[in-house]
């Protein structure tokens, strides 16, 4: 089974984010990045499917040079090779544009299965995988929590709201968007890290992918990014932990009357 895993690099969860000077995105210099969380689960799922059914796992990442780090992590964990989509015209694409570029790269690979995360932690479109399925003409299922692969089809467990699930079947080739918690992602071993050094990373720009400016034309654009205006009337407490504890209990007892 040939599996493509779309993996995005996003700012690290505990990184302190600042707005850029134009207030249209964040300041990316001096920032630490990591693999988007659901994508780590998707990668793990791809590796397990390969271990069970044989085949190949190909990482596909669109991002600037720094994204190499995310790609290397995936290769160290066991992916076989990677496609790195990097071009100045790829900067600040919307979900549609990203999906167009990914589709152009993936089409050439003709995979049996494409996995994406269900949502990115930075843009949070929750769209790229589904658009990609449409562009590739593949059936898809979203928010997946279990995959059972058969010869020519998949049986998947789809998460619904409020603790419900649903089984679904779909023919291969297909695309799935993976939800966090589907498995326990592995750590890279030292051997894996060493082995990753010789795994191929193919760089692809708009030219190689025959992508015109028109195909990447945004459908939506961000005009401003800003700190949320706080509407809440939260009362904040300061002092030593002991003082805070006492003030809080007093408020809970005498003001909120919940104790």
């Amino acid at each position: 089974m040939k599996i493509i895993i779309c993996l995005k690099q996003v700012p690290a969860r505990d990184a302190v984010l600042r707005l850029n000077s134009a207030s249209c995105w964040i300041e990316e210099s001096d920032l630490t990045f990591e693999v988007n969380e659901p994508d780590l689960y998707a990668l793990e799922e791809a590796l397990r499917l390969k271990e069970k059914h044989g085949g190949e796992v190909v990482v596909c990442t669109l991002g600037p040079a720094r994204a190499q780090q995310a790609i290397k992590e995936a290769l160290a964990k066991g992916a076989d090779r990677a496609l790195h989509l990097d071009d100045n015209v790829f900067i600040s694409l919307d979900a549609f544009g990203i999906a167009q570029a990914l589709a152009a790269a993936i089409r050439k690979e003709d995979p049996d299965l494409v996995l994406t995360g269900l949502q990115s932690d930075d843009s949070g479109f929750a769209q790229t995988g589904v658009i990609l399925a449409e562009l590739l003409g593949l059936p898809h299922a979203t928010i997946i929590m279990e995959i059972q692969a058969q010869e020519k089809s998949l049986k998947v467990k789809r998460e619904l709201e409020a603790g419900w699930f649903e089984w679904m079947e779909l023919p291969l080739p297909a695309l799935l968007t993976i939800q966090s918690g589907i498995n326990k992602p592995r750590y890279a071993t030292l051997k894996g890290i060493m082995g990753a050094k010789s795994k191929p990373i193919q760089k692809l720009g708009a030219g190689e992918l025959a992508l015109t400016a028109e195909a990447l034309e945004p459908r939506q654009k961000i005009t401003r990014v800003y700190t949320p205006v706080k509407a809440a009337k939260t009362q904040f407490f300061e002092g030593s932990p002991k003082e805070i504890a006492e003030t809080l209990l007093d408020k809970l007892k005498n003001e909120a009357r919940v104790l």
């Binding site: 979900a95 549609f96 589904v130 945004p218 800003y226 407490f237 209990l249």
Partner: protein
């Protein structure tokens, strides 16, 4: 002719769900600002009864889009039927609630129509004829103003409770219902939905708890859960958690609070090291009193907190547990 806003009314097995009404409220609001008309659409095998129910709302028209192939929801069936409808009616905007179902087919639909989808929006504002949608980025740490570029239809999905069900305006008389037969080809519906189920019986019913101490990734390691457990015990409450804690297997899934877990409304909710992503907030923001302990003063959880403590939970929780014990023993 004035512009049309088409609104998608979601249902589950023939029952209109709250997101349907929230979407209608959103569409009515937008229509008011744009002086446009609202057309509601409901898809199904026999959507007639639901269409009549929707017709109570103050809308121009309700479309009951029927096909035997729409008996069960499938992304393929819904995208195909909705695409037909939109190509025919040419609405300027298509409005959705940002549910799991909408996540599953709306991006496909928008891509097929070549338009954009502004997903999971909190709201919008108008500058003349221009509409600027507001959505969260970086898990709610920042907001972004978003504008559509290119040709309509412009699709937008709104976050749960961005518009309220009770804001739906009723019409003076029922709106006309039009039956639309969707022409779908069975071979284009590739996904086959199966059984719906819940995981094994829940061991705890957090919905009944009066006090919940919930932990998030700020708790760092499973061995630190004991500290939160002790606080919960001292308060006579239950332990809850954000999704990553349950994903990691540190607590069972029946302790998970949020859109994919339980919805709770205790009189006291303590959030320890939880950032307050929307998917967590929807499960707990109905709590009477919310206390948040977080070392990041910008964490979105503080937007719903009654009382906030900016600090390290490992320093705050032990003296708090002591103080509760002391208070209880008095």
């Amino acid at each position: 002719m004035s512009e049309t806003i088409l609104v998608f009314a979601e249902h589950h097995a023939g029952k209109l769900a709250r997101p349907a009404w929230e979407a209608i409220a959103a569409a009515q609001h937008l229509a008011g600002d744009l002086k446009a008309g609202v057309v509601a659409a409901v898809l199904g095998e026999n959507p007639g009864a639901m269409a009549n129910e929707l017709a109570q709302a103050d809308v121009q028209q309700v479309l009951a889009v029927a096909s035997p192939l729409l008996r069960e929801y499938t992304s393929d069936g819904y995208a195909a039927a909705a695409a037909q409808l939109i190509r025919e009616r040419k609405p300027q905007y298509v409005v959705f609630s940002h549910t799991y179902q909408v996540r599953d087919f709306a991006p496909k639909l928008a891509a097929r129509l070549g338009g954009g989808l502004a997903s999971d929006c909190l709201g919008y504002r108008c500058e003349g004829r221009k509409v600027i949608f507001v959505r969260q980025v970086f898990q709610g740490k920042f907001y972004a103003d978003v504008e559509f570029v290119g040709a309509p239809p412009y699709s937008v999905s709104f976050q749960a409770s961005a518009f309220r069900e009770d804001a739906v305006q009723r019409g003076p008389a029922p709106a006309p219902v039009e039956n639309v037969a969707a022409s779908l080809d069975a071979s284009t519906i590739r996904v086959k939905p199966g059984e719906r189920f819940r995981e094994a019986k829940q061991a705890v019913d957090l919905a009944q708890a009066e006090i919940i101490v919930a932990v998030g990734r700020g708790i760092k390691a499973p061995e630190n859960l004991e500290m939160a457990k002790q606080l919960a015990e001292a308060l006579g409450g239950e332990l809850g958690a954000s999704r990553p804690i349950c994903d990691s297997g540190w607590l069972p899934m029946d302790r998970q609070i949020g859109s994919s877990g339980q919805t709770v409304a205790p009189k006291l909710y303590l959030a320890l090291g939880i950032s307050g992503a929307i998917q967590h907030q929807v499960g707990m923001k109905g709590s009477k009193t919310i206390v948040a302990v977080n070392k990041d003063k910008e964490a979105p959880i503080f937007e719903v907190a009654t009382y906030g403590i900016v600090g390290d939970l490992f320093e705050i929780v032990p003296p708090l547990t002591d103080a509760v014990r002391k208070m209880k023993s008095r």
